[in-house]
Subunit: 652 residues, 2 copies
């Protein structure tokens, strides 16, 4: 039993951090080769990690995969790994600096031999990075698997992953830590902020930034919600005041997005990811091409001509996306046609059954939208894969762009049609409310409860199995079973869907805010439950994800800003179309439109100026960063002077 | 004679690079102190430069200032200075790398003791930088000048400059080099590109980028000019085709600005300023405040609270600028009123004298505009000075912004009024042509010929004086007289006015391009003469400026882009107002405006997408930069591995 092994301490102490699962039909020699490569010293091209095979479960059956391995490392190895990945830790003066083994004793929490200096998430990230950089030496293929080709410098893990020999690599949960975190995060019912630092400690910066953004976004919407409520309660039809509300809304959207940049910079500074340099990205596992020499690293690796990729993007992907948008538009038109028929049929002879019939088009449309979203998502992933991007980040950006545009279109096209073609504000308000509420309910259900329920059923089987053999003397599962349990959990696919949901909610709040001021209230309520359900699913439903040292929310900042620009256009148009504003320009429609356009341009210019005027990084952090840079420059200068004076002494 | 002194070589060889001119009433002890501080070794807090007093001129008179000093340095000193300022030089593999004395032999043109490795402009820049970093030690004031206070760490040169003891510091011209440069630059009449590399070699990167931009801008306008000519010759009144012209124009403006970014990155990469890090900026000479500790450097220096500066900007400067804009608008209205009176008087009774009278308002308006520009420029400088910016760059940005807004308004307000309020396209075309041509002629005259003429008169006196004493055996002036001659030349105030002129010309071309396609032709012609007159004034009229290691054209890129955004708005409106387009929407003005606005938004979105899609730095330069970074990372890793293996050997 490994747990026993890890308790006895000393030289052979082994703390399992990461699980590597190979396919059950992997050849023995391939396994032996991989393990020896992982264990080999760095001078020999290995990565010097500790690996042990996972023992069989309590109720070992034939279908259990025996090829599961636990990976750990000595503390010395982890510290040198921390330097490799460029980890930032707190220095004794409170600033965050890149960790180096040479001056490890100057870091704040470094005590004794460095045990407990690195968090488990950091250790796991280091191990993942080290595994990723395990490169083939002169092997031409994986031993025992002649079809899995290798070439000098190729990342072994990525090749095994892309060929299906390596099923998954995932970090282990810490049961105690997780219990503490989940208690302070979502099990206490209390009014307080999320424990962002603990989340970051357990899940890494990327996750913590998402939850930080979710929390910030919720609080930022509270003023809009508070102003929105009296509108709902008292002046449902008074457009005059909606103008003020919309104007406030537009400025507010810009301000909160700008302030988030500052908030995110503060968080990233505190966590040491703000000034951390990005490591050189490896080609993603699925990337293929003709072997050649990388012009940056000089290493041999597959190359794929950029022009070919551009051709695929502009000649296939772009037309495909446009076609999908057209299809979506077409289906929307069919929906409105059906809606019209049904309504006229109902108006002609209002019976109960015909009343029921009224809902049919909406339901069909909603279902079709969901199906289209699903199919499109697969198509987008397939296309982006086929575009053969070299880097994961570039792949992600292209995927996000494709999915974003289509989702935006699918969700909001009907609202745009109602607002600007039909110009029916009452219908717009109803549709907006219906769409918003339905999507919220669906999301909460699909995201948290469904996976949880599935997970629970699987777990129960497992636990029952275990309990058949063991008495209830200790309630904890043995490590082997715990690992197998976690291996069976769903894989968390990143923050993509979570951000996408927030993005669409932001659209509901900002695009048509002057028509439906209650949207902010609904979104605030949704976000509060979202915090809990997201926290819950992170802790209970999914495998622990590897931490990802993000410094900001990346492409989503841009997406939200784009949305707020579109919101200026829609809101100005809506205000221009309102009867109250029209009443001021009774004599001339032209004047009205010109004024609306002028106001819109003014607002856009104002937004732009505001964006420039508010610095992206708070002053005190700018000063801290400048001070660090200055100190390192001064140190360099001093060193140079010293060398020069020593040299002159030697010469004398 | 110093020239003789510089020829004898050996240890005492002194090559004068920079001239320091002190006020003639400076106390002897202050001069002695300053010279000793400049000559002192770096360990003692000096800057280790060579200084010699300039001998009297041939025809020494009482009014000649005796306190002129020539500054130079040994080659060793210059090389270590090059490392201090972070100079990039060509490495033996053709890439540009930061120069370090440690591996100086790996740089391409480094031969022997390093003589002629640095260009004279680089040496002068290094000396200026070293002089600027000469800091007070424990002096509380300048010896002999009790009122000129000092504190430890204060830059001595900057304090002397702000107190008027130091009149000027300027680099010397190289007569031979200048002759060669000016020959290949503007004296040969031939069709070829400017010798940008030579310009950079002599004047530094900032100047070379300006001339590069001027050249690029001229070539970029050629297609527009070529398309514009047939419009002028054949279809003067055909708006239909103007629409195509304007659309082409808008896309073209975006494309050329984006391509310039790439071109500028290529130039900056070739010259080694692209990846060069900015040094810490010293406070500008005029900056004042209460002594305190700088939070970045920890040095004692004057501090000025940012909030106070913000208050000055938003409560004084901003209202002042708005007031000036209002005044400018008011004067414009008076001009149109006068124009109206005069025209009606002429129409009522057209006589010769009343015909002449018609020109009076235009002339008065033009004169008033010029006077307002002049007064405003002084006011803007005064206000920006009063805002008390700590850094020169921040001062410059605020000054540029103030001057830019006002100049834009002053030049184009009347055109906007004619176009969108009076909607008189014929008058617009006439005004545009008149303004453009007048401003071009005025500029050429004011910029080059007037200063040249003044300069020539002064020089002639000097040369006559010298020739009185000397025979014509050698035509070269002795060094002392040459230095005094250069000290008398006008000081080049930077590229501000040159860029401003280009910016306004760009406005004439792009804002109303669909009304007056010939503008591009005029601007191209103007730019061709501009190259010659600017080159001429750089070589003959002004003191040599210190080189400024710029990586791009800075805030002007933003200004040009802003102009191209405004151009989209104006051109779309003009097209929407054209009778041909109006003919398509006979039934509904509303439809026409909505379509115009839609097209405008589409174009703006397209512009934005184009900006994102075209990478700012060409691919091959990105690769080169990434390779350099990768190499330095790998070197670091190798060093670490080596240290670790040595350590393990020692332990064993």
């Amino acid at each position: 039993m490994l747990r026993g092994l890890s308790a006895d301490g000393g030289a052979s102490r082994f703390n399992p951090l990461v699980v590597v699962e190979l396919a059950s039909n992997t050849k023995e020699e391939a396994i032996a080769w991989l393990l020896s490569r992982i264990r080999d010293t760095q001078q020999n091209g290995g990565v010097e990690l500790l690996v042990e095979q996972l023992g069989p479960g309590v109720d070992a059956q034939e279908k259990e995969n025996p090829n599961m391995f636990l990976v750990g490392a000595t503390w010395q190895r982890l510290l040198s790994g921390a330097e490799d990945v460029g980890l930032f830790k707190e220095f004794h003066d409170g600033s965050m600096r890149g960790f180096t083994c040479a001056n490890k004793h100057n870091f704040k929490d470094f005590k004794g031999d460095g045990d407990s200096f690195l968090s488990m998430a950091e250790c796991q990230y280091i191990i993942k990075h080290e595994l990723d950089t395990l490169r083939a030496k002169d092997e031409t293929h994986v031993p025992g698997h002649n079809q899995v080709k290798l070439y000098p410098g190729k990342s072994v893990i990525r090749r095994l992953l892309s060929k299906g020999i390596l099923i998954q690599v995932f970090p282990l949960h810490e049961k105690e830590e997780l219990k503490r975190l989940s208690f302070s995060w979502y099990q206490k019912v209390k009014l307080s902020f999320q424990p962002l630092d603990d989340i970051r400690h357990y899940y890494g910066e990327g996750q913590a930034l998402y939850f930080g953004f979710l929390e910030y976004f919720t609080f930022a919407l509270v003023p809009m919600a508070l102003i929105g409520v009296p509108y709902y309660l008292f002046d449902w039809e008074n457009y005059d005041k909606y103008v003020i509300f919309a104007a406030f809304n537009l400025v507010w959207c810009t301000v909160i997005l700008e302030l988030w940049k500052r908030g995110s910079a503060s968080l990233a500074y505190r966590w040491g990811t703000l000034s951390r340099k990005k490591a050189f990205e490896e080609p993603r596992p699925g990337f293929h091409g003709v072997l050649g020499f990388n012009s940056v690293t000089g290493r041999e690796e597959p190359l794929y001509p950029n022009t070919k990729r551009q051709l695929r993007i502009y000649l296939v992907s772009l037309p495909f996306v446009l076609l999908c948008l057209y299809l979506s538009l077409y289906i929307m038109m069919i929906y409105f046609l059906m809606e019209g028929w049904v309504l006229s049929a109902h108006d002609a002879e209002p019976t109960f059954w015909r009343g029921i019939l009224c809902f049919i088009p909406s339901i069909i449309y909603a279902v079709v939208i969901e199906i289209m979203n699903l199919i499109y998502r697969y198509a987008a992933e397939f296309l982006t894969e086929w575009e053969n991007h070299r880097l994961e980040s570039s792949y992600q950006n292209h995927l996000v762009l494709k999915v974003l545009v289509f989702n935006f279109f699918n969700c909001f096209a009907s609202l745009f049609y109602i607002a600007f073609v039909m110009q029916d504000m009452v219908l717009l308000r109803q549709s907006l409310a219906t769409l918003l509420i339905t999507s919220q309910i669906l999301n909460q259900f699909m995201e948290a409860f469904l996976p949880y329920w599935l997970q629970r059923r699987r777990n129960k089987k497992m636990i029952r199995k275990v309990q058949k053999r063991k008495t209830l003397e200790d309630k904890e599962l043995p490590l082997a079973d715990q690992v197998r349990l976690e291996a069976d959990m769903s894989t968390y696919l990143g923050t993509f869907d979570d951000y996408l949901e927030l993005f669409l909610l932001f659209g509901y709040v900002s695009l048509f805010s002057c028509v439906y001021p209650l949207a902010a209230v609904l979104v605030v309520l949704n976000n509060i439950t979202e915090v809990y359900s997201d926290a819950f699913k992170m802790c209970r439903v999914f495998k622990r994800p590897f931490s990802d040292p993000a410094a900001n929310i990346g492409v989503w900042q841009l997406a939200f800003e784009a949305m707020s620009v579109i919101a200026v256009v829609t809101n100005c148009s809506l205000i221009g179309m309102s009867p109250q504003v029209k009443a001021y320009f009774l004599d001339s429609d032209t004047q009205l439109i010109l004024w609306t356009v002028a106001v819109e341009h003014g607002l856009l210019a104002f937004k732009f100026i505001l964006t420039v005027l508010i610095p992206d990084v708070p002053k005190h952090i700018q000063i801290n960063l400048a001070r660090l840079e200055f100190e390192s420059l001064e140190a360099l200068k001093k060193k140079k002077m010293l060398e020069a004076s020593e040299l002159s002494k030697t010469v004398q």
